[in-house]
Symmetry: C2
Subunit: 402 residues, 2 copies
């Protein structure tokens, strides 16, 4: 009952030993001497020295400063060794798979992608991921023992605790498929799985908005979804579906059926297929989201008008998000958002007109900057965060001590 | 860039010394021996012994176990001493002030309240708070040196970093008034100030839903607002106004002006004054929210119907909250919600009909259990959380060492 505002987050740190805290202190990248580390942790100098040595051997920490170059007494300062180990970030979309190998700062060292339907199933998709992953590690001159983890984004709901996709509507064959086990057995490292929009929110923020603690990433493509970061933390909610704004009811669409079985959902009114339907009704030859994007890029005014109107509809739901979350930044991503500034313009129009001045005075609404890389960047951040957690570093230290 | 999912929360722990962690470990209430504490913190036995002794002297930790009662060797176990110190929780409403003294577990030891308009201004309100606070400390047999902090809830927007009310619409004379300085000078302890609905969310959760990490408290009275707890943490947003759902646009109220200057806000359609207006239009003699509540309690069907319809309108906005936050529990509080189950029934009707099954399958929507105590309980939790934070305990330890 006591720790009401910290909750579980705080609980996570209670089991730490001071030796792990030493590494967590170094995670900010600033170099420190052994005696600084001793006074920060309260550990004996000799304990600090032996832990630092183990972390250097693990490739997580490196000596810095001029002492090394002069070849004299041992280096006096130590810092996080961001280039010492690597992770893989995998972004599985409805009709593409992207993969990147990054260092521990999230810097992309090599990447690859393929056009592939997620509906081909987990065996086909993960076989490509495994082959491409091994190739990329080679390209980045990383040994398989340098790999600390794999992050994967999937285009459907994922149970956070297990990493299993749960009843994903556009992923036949994937329901409860154990992705962590499959890739874990092939690579021998922890595998973290999350929803693609959560992953994109992490990636976009890490790449372009690192100091923004209240952040919403909205993906507008074949579907509509969002990833919510509040208080600096990705929020998943009670069932892991926080941010699922595609099925918020929008009154003017009362009669439009949605694939979810309900009527009047945001997605049924403003995602790519809905825009295509509007344009077909106006007599244009449009089948898919891709056709919509092509028309917009060609400057077709009907298409531009329809995308802007979709932006206004999305803006209606975003006004509620603004009131509930009070974000500093909202980013629009996904193929429809990235076809120019039209969706953004429509969304801004409604949000700035309908929200409280205090909430919008400093609110930025922007198109994605990370673009197609948001997914792999976020997946790698997920893997890095897990790999550098106190528990994992503790496990690594214990394994080398044996 | 690295610690993308932990953000600032994690940063909070980086400066800790191991001695503070010792107390943070004991905050869960479980008794532990000195040697358990030594192995959990990595500190030397002698350091643990002296820190434990200081914490016992501060009244934050107490010896437990039978060793004390037999009068032999010193007690072998130590635990948080919840009854060792106290805090004050103050709930300032539009037309009432409540105050309670609680122990460090949030247990109310004594309380008082008065009917007073917040519009009387800070000097009058805080003078009553100071007098009542001193009386309550006496009643609870607490010396002024036992007081660790004061939490205050105000019925308007509060800047989180400073505790200053910012342009509060119903609080003439309070704009940027320094409540922490006023009470801090009188009581010599830290004073934490927050918005009343955030405070009620903390209090309701602490009292009745301590293990629920995704939680929304909605207050429906003269106005409508909510407090949002995500991932176990109260979310304040970029400007401290997260949860401000009273001004979300509701389409069917397009022509109804709101006191905020906009039209069609939830509050303009479904708060007490809006229900009173509906009933006046139906020919009833209703002026205020209090009249509405009296009619509902008397079983007037027009009033019951109007409150239920208000519940449906609130439910519309709550469906968006459910999609964005994915809460496990939504609690309705405030005077209109507590006039029976009618508002609740209307809200449930719409939320369960319009939200995704995965989001509502295990969602509870409930009336407040803490009721009128939610505010003072939450204010005391705010004070307790601050008082027991690593930084504050460190400061206390340092002051006794001098």
């Amino acid at each position: 009952m006591l720790d009401v505002t910290h909750g579980d987050t705080h609980g996570d740190t209670l089991g730490d030993t001071a030796g792990i805290d030493l590494f967590q202190i170094l995670r900010d990248g600033r170099p420190r001497t052994r005696s600084e580390l001793a006074s920060l942790t309260g550990l004996a100098r000799s304990t600090v020295a032996s832990r630092v040595e183990s972390l250097v051997r693990l490739g997580l920490v490196r000596p810095v400063g001029d002492a090394v170059s002069t070849g004299g007494r041992p280096s006096s300062q130590f810092a996080l060794n961001a280039s010492g180990r690597v992770v893989l970030g995998v972004d599985v979309g409805a009709s593409h798979v992207r993969i990147a190998v990054t260092d521990l700062s999230g810097k992309i060292l090599a990447q690859d992608s393929v056009a592939m339907e997620v509906a081909e199933g987990p065996a086909a998709v993960l076989a490509w991921v495994a082959t491409a992953g091994r190739e990329l590690l080679k390209k980045a001159n990383a040994a398989s023992t340098d790999l600390l983890g794999i992050g994967v984004g999937l285009p459907g709901p994922v149970e956070h605790a297990t990493g299993l996709p749960i009843d994903p509507p556009i992923m036949p064959g994937w329901d409860r498929y154990d992705v962590p086990q499959n890739l874990g057995e092939q690579f021998g490292v922890p595998v973290l799985v999350d929803n693609d929009v959560n992953i994109m929110a992490l990636g976009e923020r890490a790449a372009s908005w690192p100091h923004i603690d209240h952040f919403i990433f909205v993906k507008v493509a074949t579907g509509i979804g969002s990833g919510v970061i509040s208080g600096g933390l990705l929020q998943r909610g009670a069932q892991g579906i926080a941010g699922d704004i595609g099925h918020v009811y929008v009154p003017q669409g009362d009669d439009v059926p949605c694939r979810c079985g309900n009527k009047g959902c945001l997605e049924a009114l403003a995602a790519g297929p809905a825009i295509a339907r509007t344009l077909r009704a106006a007599g244009l030859d449009v089948e898919s989201s891709a056709d919509v994007i092509a028309l917009v890029k060609a400057g077709n005014t009907d298409a531009i008008r329809a995308v802007r109107e979709a932006g206004r509809t999305i803006g209606q739901v975003l006004t509620a998000c603004v009131s509930i979350i009070n974000p500093a930044v909202i980013v629009l991503g996904g193929s429809i958002a990235q076809a120019g500034e039209h969706l953004l313009a429509g969304a801004r129009e409604v949000v700035y007109a309908r929200s409280m001045p205090l909430a919008t005075g400093q609110l930025q609404i922007s198109n994605s900057r990370a673009g197609a890389n948001a997914g792999v960047l976020g997946a790698s951040m997920l893997a890095i965060h897990h790999a550098l957690s106190p528990e994992r570093v503790d496990a690594l230290l214990a394994s080398t001590a044996r």
